[in-house]
């Protein structure tokens, strides 16, 4: 197997050949996202998954550079040995790749405290649609040299270039890191008031998710809904925050692996669709309420919902067994204020979603970096 820089060169040649004969490419890492049903018209796969390995890690700098195909769990293992971590927890299996996380800008519950990939990526190496190997950003934690291509490629789903290497910011592992649940009825009318008072508490959690009743039950957190809170810091800080959270209800230790299971819940539920709704934090309770009210009583495979209440993002997981109710849910969501992002949909449904890159500026961007439209064409719903 060719690895490292030779493999980057190989990918570059493959991409240049594809550009020559205008072969559209599907960019593939570990392949976890391929069944999300996104409508990509590609004749060949460009496999970045084999391009794996940590290139540079100096613990004292709290930065790490790795090839795009490096699995997140490998990064966690290597940095964990130095009591450090990459604070990104995108949905999906633990062996998802760094490249896919950055390309899709996938963020999990930790975004509450640390932001998403855009806030944690320091530099990238990318092959553009014209086969140019370029670098953006750097390996230091603060850097404003030049126009910010790093932000441009982060979350572009490979449509502007193929990420081959990334440098990320690491953090020291906290002395204490523990998670608690508090039973909260997420269907209650008092939810807006409750979330409002939650925002005023003197706590600084790493993650703060409101689980609806079906998801709470599934994770073994509570019978009704619950708050799942990740507290960190030194012992004094964590103890004090537990006490403060007691104002909301009984505080229990979270079930083991709650966060890992939450990240993989769509796999566990063999989800046919995953949708994110977001609004200002003060209004997100309305979203939650509206979805709840539409849930049929006694549904055997109900929609599972968890909401990052600090960020105002509600994530709805539609189990495969309730695919019949998907159309109704989508119609309901259409009527709600705020923004909608589809993570996963059946292939038949993607055409009903508006393109995220249909505006003139985005179209010019795509035209500039992938003028032949060979990189993941159609994945963002763009019409060529």
């Amino acid at each position: 197997m060719i690895t490292g820089t030779a493999a980057v060169q190989e990918l570059r040649e493959q991409l240049s050949r594809a550009a020559n004969d205008r072969t559209p490419l599907r960019i593939r890492g570990r392949g976890h996202w391929l069944d999300a049903g996104r409508p990509v018209q590609a004749a060949q796969v460009l496999d970045v998954g084999a391009l794996s390995g940590i290139v540079e890690y100096v613990p004292g700098d709290l930065t790490l550079t790795a090839f795009a195909g490096t699995p997140l769990d490998e990064i966690a293992k290597v940095t964990g040995a130095e009591r450090q971590w990459l604070a990104l927890d995108p949905p999906g299996p633990a062996d998802g790749t760094l490249g896919a996380t950055v390309s899709t800008a996938s963020a999990g519950p930790l975004a509450h405290a640390f932001g998403g990939p855009r806030d944690n990526v320091l530099g990238l190496q990318v092959i553009t649609g014209q086969g140019e190997l370029i670098e953006s950003g750097g390996r230091v934690v603060k850097n404003v040299a030049g126009f910010d291509l790093t932000r441009l490629f982060t979350g572009a789903w490979g449509t502007l270039g193929v990420i081959t290497m990334a440098t990320v910011r690491l953090r020291g592992l906290p002395e204490v890191d523990e998670s608690v649940t508090i039973p909260i009825d997420s269907g209650s009318n008092s939810l807006p008031a409750l979330l409002s008072s939650l925002r005023t508490l003197q706590i600084a959690p790493l993650a703060l998710e409101l689980l609806d009743a079906p998801l709470s039950r599934r994770l073994g957190a509570a019978d009704a809904g619950s708050l799942l809170v990740r507290l960190a810091g030194n012992g004094d800080a964590v103890r004090a925050q537990r006490t403060i959270l007691g104002q909301l209800g009984a505080v229990h230790d979270a079930p083991p692996n709650a966060w890992r299971r939450l990240r993989e819940i769509e796999l566990e539920a063999t989800a046919c669709a995953v949708l994110r709704l977001s609004r200002r934090p003060s209004d997100v309770a309305d979203c939650i309420g509206a979805i709840h009210r539409d849930q049929p009583e006694g549904e055997s495979a109900p929609v599972l919902m968890h909401t990052a209440v600090g960020r105002g993002v509600a994530r709805c997981i539609v189990p495969g067994a309730s695919a019949g109710g998907l159309d109704a849910l989508l119609r309901k969501i259409e009527t709600l204020a705020g923004s909608r992002v589809a993570e996963r949909l059946p292939a038949t449904h993607w055409s009903s979603m508006a393109s995220a890159v249909g505006d003139p500026l985005s179209r010019r961007t795509k035209q500039s970096f992938d003028p032949l439209n060979i990189l993941n064409p159609g994945i963002l719903g763009e019409k060529s």
């Binding site: 370029i134 404003v144 004094d236 204020a337 923004s339």
Partner: protein
Amino acid sequence: MPLDVARLAPELAAITGARGVLSRPSELLVYSADGLPSYRKPPSLAVFPSTRDQLIAVVRHLASVGCPFVPRGAGTGLSGGALAERDAVVIGLNRLNRILRIDPDNRLAVVEPGAVNAHLTRAVSPFGLHYAPDPSSQTACTIGGNVAENAGGPHCLKYGVTLNHILALTVLLPDGELVVLGSADGERDGYDLLGAFIGSEGCFGVALDVTVRLTRNPEAVRTMLADFTSLDAAAHATSAIIASGIMPAALEMMDGPTIRAVEASIYAAGYPVDAAAVLLVELDGLSAGLDADARSVEEMCRSAGARSVSTARDEAERARLWLGRKKAFGAMGRLAPDLVVQDAVIPRTRLPEVLATIHEIAQRWKLEVCNVFHAGDGNLHPNIPYDARDPDATDRVSHAMREIMQACVRAGGSVTGEHGIGLDKLEYMPLIFSEASLAAQCQLRDVFDPDRRSNPGKVVPVRSCREWHQLPSVRSAAAAVPA
């Protein structure tokens, strides 16, 4: 092409009123620099819209006549970025300084681009909130300028830079088209054009309004001053704190020459004048646990060799410690009439060695260097006081600065952490980016400003862009693909 001031001035005055246009050399002198003595060029025309509609009309008029322009905030950028080269019109944004909306519940505010950074924090403080990025120039610099530079500041160590605090922008593209980037009403998917715009140094257009994220004031703060007899020891203490998992809100270093300049000035903060370096370490957050973290930091400083570690007893003492740091640049005005400053960033483990190299370079060129910088994120600010009227000194300063920059790049660093490339660091861009990478940056610029009329000649060396245009153009890509 020289600017046709006689024609353009009345046309712009018709939009802004006569008091919104300056064309006399004596009036324009103040707009000829942005704090760096090495770059000075008075513009021939400056326009100051006082409403959003006037700004839109000005930009559209300049687009219709094909005239380049330079958006300018407070002119505190220190990179030559706000200077009007090649007879571009300066668009001064200071009059668009209103805070349009504050939403304390969702912790956001909407401001005009000319709103002053510190005024925003003052306006939201009744709600227990503040705007986190805090450049040393925050009492003057504008939010629009901060967006253009992706400005930092001491507290960015914990809270992040401007990029991490902007939710949305309404942007007027150089051709007069209005676009909204990002969103305050929920996530946006699609390309992160908001992220691309932040730090584009005025080359991508003008922000008409800025939606910023506000940060809750910490429940408690501990501000500590650690005193070292060697720079090396202070650098090692920095590394130890950063690696420990405790994230200080700020971790600043000042060396002996800086300390002495500050202490001799009206900003005297009580720093020990015989120290080789001090660290100003601020911890903030929940009160519970803060003292335990403070004890750990103190222990780490002492292990690295600190003579003493003291904690500010009250808000007045804390303010005094910070004033000395934030006004250190001003205090250096006592040493010489002019001052140059760089802001390279290096990996934090390389601090001891690079600081020693900087000292060696300064000695060799017979210059004094004052280091006052964001040690926690490796963002150096070597300052060299000198007299710009002395051609020999000017020459030695420019050699020394170039060598310092090269040393930082060799250590794996970047040439700027928060001041931007502007004109000052154009020549260093090829040290850190390949031709292909610079060309890709030009491509991004061309997405926003295909005519390159907005702040022309900045950030990316023109040569890189020219070469790009000789390459197969993106506009004729079909023809460019080799058979």
